[in-house]
């Protein structure tokens, strides 16, 4: 049928623009899924989505790639992990932290690694990124036990059945001091330390971004990311002999 030939020709045109590393992931997919990923791969990811994905890729020894789509999705092989994110959220660094939860899926050891790196923003990021799979309530419950003392200041309900003696999961990272950064964001400036020093870490800034007013969220997300990007660049500058 001529339509089938036209489809194949169109698919080959889409493939021509995709890096070989990504193409290697698509081999075993159904034709419609393959085309769906090819269309995503033909669009540029938002720099914030790329930056956060690059940071989170320390969780895995494989290369991570990220592409804009309509919703969260992931495919992987031995060398590459490819994520799709909701394009409309791509400029928000906290929402992009949902990548870690998408990667963790239902694998306990991955959740532990992600919780050690991200602490509270593992769950807050997933919520902000609108990622809520069926297994999520139990993860939220573990998060609630680990950070019970902070839930009121994050505007979240304290679970009724919380055991006061339960310190939560051991693997969750502690909450950094984020209030100065939140004060700076709400004041309308890029988070920083005094005397021009950049920030002390990503998680504190992302936690500061959580709970900022909806009406200024987009602008403040840009400021938060500028601070995080500066932190990464400063580290890179220091490593140069």
């Amino acid at each position: 049928m001529w339509q089938d030939e036209a489809f194949k020709e169109w698919r080959e045109r889409l493939k021509a623009l995709v890096p070989p590393q990504a193409l290697s992931l698509l081999g075993g997919l159904e034709p419609t899924d393959q085309v769906s990923w090819l269309r995503r791969l033909n669009r540029n990811a938002h720099p914030v989505a790329e930056g956060i994905s690059g940071w989170l890729s320390q969780l895995d020894s494989r290369s991570w790639m990220v592409v804009p789509g309509d919703s969260w999705d992931m495919i992987d092989n031995d060398q590459v992990v490819l994520f799709a994110y909701p394009e409309y959220l791509g400029s928000d660094p906290l929402a992009m932290c949902a990548i870690a939860s998408v990667w963790a899926g239902t694998r306990g050891e991955r959740w532990d690694a992600a919780a050690r790196l991200l602490g509270p923003i593992l769950i807050l990021g997933a919520q902000e990124g609108r990622w809520s799979p069926s297994y999520f309530p139990e993860k939220i419950s573990a998060f609630g036990r680990a950070y019970a003392a902070y839930l009121p200041q994050w505007g979240l309900p304290v679970p009724a059945n919380l055991d006061a003696n339960d310190g939560g999961e051991a693997c969750w990272a502690p909450v950094p001091n984020y209030t100065p950064y939140q004060e700076q964001l709400n004041f309308g400036v890029v988070p920083h330390e005094v005397a021009g020093e950049g920030i002390s870490g990503e998680v504190a800034v992302l936690l500061a971004l959580y709970g900022t007013p909806d009406e200024s969220r987009s602008r403040l997300a840009g400021m938060a990311y500028r601070a995080i990007e500066g932190f990464w660049l400063k580290q890179a500058f220091r490593e140069v002999p």
């Binding site: 720099p47 004041f187 950049g198 500028r226 660049l233």
Partner: protein
């Protein structure tokens, strides 16, 4: 009076509302003597030849994609600036100028000697907040590469004899940008007066 190095460090350590902010400083050496070096950011607005007509400051509502294109050049990559080409870039650092200070943006002579002009509108008003838009032009005869992350300009801060109303409260047009911004000339109140003289677009006469 121009602020010296000690005064600049002092200003950068004050309470938030009156703090001079230039962040992130990737290297403390960026603040030396009486100036602060700023780096070239990663976002650019390339000006291109319009297919539809000239830029009319009175009709800035026209689709800017006809004569400009936004590009991002990550640190580690480079962008070519051809002779006589104008590109809008932005400083990588975010800036907050306290109410009693103002600043001048001055290109670095090392770049100037290659033909690069960094800023034409060089005054930064009291109360300004955001990343400075830089008007980058190559006045030489040879193309020049621009590298995001390199130091392209320096800020020299001056005290005012009297604290000024904040830039935003004065109606400043460019408050708070995080990347380069195109001209907002059409927001000048003068245009209303100019229109009333029957000016405007010659095509409308």
């Amino acid at each position: 009076m121009v602020l010296n190095e000690a005064a600049l460090w002092d200003r950068m350590s004050r309470p938030l509302a009156e703090r001079l902010i230039v962040t992130p400083l990737l290297d403390p050496d960026q603040l030396r003597g009486g100036s602060v070096d700023v780096r070239l950011g990663q976002e650019f607005i390339l000006m291109k030849r319009s297919a539809k007509g000239p830029i009319d400051p009175l009709e800035m509502a026209q689709d800017p994609r006809d004569y400009q294109e936004r590009v991002r050049v990550p640190i580690g990559d480079k962008m070519i600036l051809h002779p006589n080409q104008l590109v809008l870039g932005a400083a990588f650092e975010f800036l907050q100028v306290p109410q009693d200070l103002m600043a001048y943006v001055i290109g670095r002579s090392s770049w100037g000697r290659l033909g690069l002009i960094v800023a034409t509108a060089i005054m930064v008003s009291p109360g300004y907040r955001g990343s400075l838009t830089l008007e980058l032009a190559n006045l030489g005869d040879t193309p020049v590469y621009l590298y995001p992350g390199t130091r392209v300009a320096q800020l020299v801060f001056h005290t005012l004899t009297d604290a000024s109303p904040l830039y935003r409260e004065q109606g400043g047009k460019y408050t708070g940008p995080m990347g380069p911004e195109f001209s907002k000339l059409a927001l000048d109140r003068d245009w209303a007066a100019i229109r009333s003289f029957g000016g405007g677009s010659p095509n409308e006469k």
